[in-house]
Amino acid sequence: MPYTAISTLPVSPSRLGDPTNFISESLAFLDAQINFASNCNTVASYFNAAKFDPYNWGDLSAVSGSSPVYISSFIAAPPTVPPMLGTELADSIDGLLSSMVAFVPDANIVGTWIDTLVNPSAPVIVDPTRPTISTVNATPLRNDGQLTFESKAISFYGSARSFSLSLQQFADYVATFSSGLEDWNGIEVVYTDTDDWGLINE
């Protein structure tokens, strides 16, 4: 299964900057977050289970051109409510949603690059230092009650930021892995290839 790109989010709403269009834009964004969370979790599942060829270690050709690529627009830290209230809170959430829109293309560039190094036929490598891409929690929905909406929003935006950070950590790991800087200590290569008699090939 190839890398599945995260769908582009709609225009981020802005209570402070564009109150005229806020209602329609915010509801559209709220609905789009459902697909965003699903896309992110697909990416996390795919890369967390992905295998990389250990024989490429030290092969700098895998890291060519502008690669490894970096995420420059991470999802902003969600505000803590309270103490943040009023205009400050509106401004902070405006910024948070805007950062999600900017994050998507960055994430897709990084994800596509990581995908070029995925090798499904490579052996399983047990590496305790390999980072895990975190998943994104359920999004708040327009028909949620106020308390449910609030708790889901806090959980969702926090996990979305964690996802953006962990994706970059994973990209860093893959870049280091591919450029041969990985520390071999603690890494165990598990060969899964067997011969016709069921013996493991080494």
């Binding site: 409510v81 309270p82 209230l85 205009t87 509106a90 806090i154 935006y157």
Partner: protein, 299 residues
């Protein structure tokens, strides 16, 4: 507590405005029939007699009256100190006032737009005060849920007080209410000299008086006619006992006079334009005295 006694704004002191005065034709001598409206002295009058040749202000004072005062013109509604009337203008309201007396405070009521900017210039043209305030009030936004679902309409500030203006004789006050592509409006603009008289305490109560009418017909159908409302407040204030005499004299001097009462400039709900109904001072002890002050709002 701050009390501002309004300075009167007339055609002479309103030195510039971008609000046209074209509500109706200007009155000129002639014969006018029932229902005709004309502007006279920046006020709108309507003929209530079969026909009249009287000057509107004279006809309105006559018995029986031939003219009826309707309202101030749109240009002057923001200075008329009355319930439910305000100046509106597409995109912005830009007015310049040169009061005859020294003023150090400007308060806006029922203001609507994106921003309000007040620029104060000395008689020589030097800018000594320039402040722009957003008219969006987000104090009710306290959760992610409210971010998404709090109606935009509930985030507008309706009262705004500029009370830190330096004192200059002959200064001009330019107010610019910007509304972008929308309509700017201002229910009332009060300009005057502030008096800081007491400390407002928690325990002050505020509310509104609604003039809407509910009628029930013979079949039990209810209809509601929405009308303006005015604010009211019962201030709980503390006065230094040594100043009680002066406090009493000042309040007595503004009896039956509309004034702006400000409990806390940062709390718009405690800003009321109106008359005080009564006040009562209790000489609690030698240092401070407690006072209750009831104000009936006009707006």
């Amino acid at each position: 507590m701050i009390i501002i006694k309004p300075a009167t704004v007339t055609a002479a002191t309103l030195t510039a405005t971008n609000v046209a005065e074209t509500d109706y034709a200007v009155w000129s001598a002639g014969t006018y029939t029932l229902g005709t409206r004309r502007i006279y002295d920046h006020k709108i009058y309507e003929v209530v007699a079969a026909s009249t040749t009287a000057q509107p202000d004279v006809g309105a004072a006559a018995v029986p009256a031939s003219w009826l005062y309707v309202s101030a013109t749109n240009r002057f509604k923001m200075f008329d100190i009355s319930v439910g009337s305000g100046t509106t203008n597409a995109s912005s309201i830009n007015v310049t006032i040169t009061p005859a007396t020294v003023c150090n405070s400007v308060v806006l009521f029922d203001v609507d737009g994106a921003t309000a900017q007040l620029i104060v210039r000395t008689s020589g043209g030097t800018i000594v005060y320039n402040q722009t305030v957003s008219l969006t009030d987000y104090t009710g936004l306290n959760s992610y849920f409210n971010y998404y679902f709090l109606p935009i309409a509930e985030t507008g500030a309706t009262e705004l007080a500029f009370i830190d203006i330096p004192n200059y004789s002959g200064a001009t006050f330019q107010l610019i209410i910007s509304a972008g592509a929308g309509t700017a409006s201002c229910g009332e603009m009060i300009i005057g000299q502030k008096s800081v008289l007491a400390v407002t305490n928690f325990g002050t109560s505020v509310g509104i008086k609604d003039y809407s009418v509910k009628t029930i017909d013979d079949f039990g159908n209810v209809s509601i006619t929405t009308r303006p409302y005015s604010k009211r407040a019962d201030y709980d204030v503390t006065v230094e006992t040594a100043d009680v005499g002066q406090f009493n004299k000042f309040l007595a001097s503004i009896r039956s006079t509309p004034a702006v009462y400000i409990g806390d400039p940062d709390r718009g709900e405690t800003i009321v334009l109106g008359y005080y109904r009564d006040f009562n001072v209790v000489l609690s002890n030698p240092s401070i005295s407690e006072c209750s002050l009831s104000v009936e709002g006009l707006i």
